[in-house]
Amino acid sequence: MEANVMNTSSTYLFLAIFLAVAVVFPLVPIGLAKLWSHTFTPAKPGHDKQSSYECGVVPVGSTRIQFKSQYYLYGIIFLIFDVEAVFLIPVAVAFLHLPLGAVLAVAVFILLLLEGLAWAWAKGVLKWQ
């Protein structure tokens, strides 16, 4: 019984040692590097060095640019009218010999894309501007 208790505590002791090593192992090289840079190679910040890298050109405006997500509409329309056509050509070629399961699978695929088309239509994406 006492041996079991010893085993449990020593198991956790190993865990504690592992944790200590895991903390010290990265901290020692970082500390040495900091010590080295402080002693021998001091940091020299400057206006150009702190500015954002734009291939040498002076950066214009803020670097926190937000990209518009409206491109997804083109992605959906492309799927419906272009990728679907590519998938439907082999179906059309083998149409008379298709088993019932394959026809159902193709029907589900077309219905999924038709749903997207109906959604885009209702949103007014298809309207020519």
Binding site: F40, P42, K44, G46, K49, G56, V58
Partner: protein, 219 residues
Amino acid sequence: MAINSIEAQPDVQALSQQGVHVTSLESLYNWGRSNSLWPLQFGLACCAIEMIAATMARHDMARFGAEVFRPSPRQADLMIVAGTVTKKMAPMVVRLYNQMPEPKYVIAMGACAISGGPFRDGYNVLKGIDRYIPVDVFIPGCPPRPEAMLDGVIQLQEKIRGQKLTGPHRARHADKSVRGDYPVPEYAGGDLSPPYNPEIWSPPPVPESSAEDESDSET
């Protein structure tokens, strides 16, 4: 090996012949960084093609640890000015140099980067990048062959191995009082102002005898 390094001392050399290698922290540090020069990835003209050829399989600059061309100045410590520097491009080159962290070195590759080369009389060509940033190694040629490029890298490695970390003659990157960036010239009206950085470059004195031959009065 540097002349005044610890390896040059006779008793240390005698130990080294017996298989006991003694070195200093400074030599070890310089040995490490001279063999891991990371150039900034940019080419300005035809010299860049020779620079690329120097990194390819036949010449293989990786043998000297300098094959990792970085796409960002933050990770680079060697700037190879490979090609003609136009006056419009010069501010970008100086700004990229300023954005590189210390220690940093410059190789002026080819006649154009050294002096303007065959385009020296061109209206829009900078007559040498050493007018704005300090150049460590000049590689002449038009363009220099990849072997010359490798020789330039070896020369730079020897220079790095001789640099001091402490003392009055220590390297620039080890001296906090010496700034590591240089003023960026301004391109306006088809010309650069100032025409050169007077701190690091001054027009060479014109000899009396050939003063009338020199048509380039601007210098």
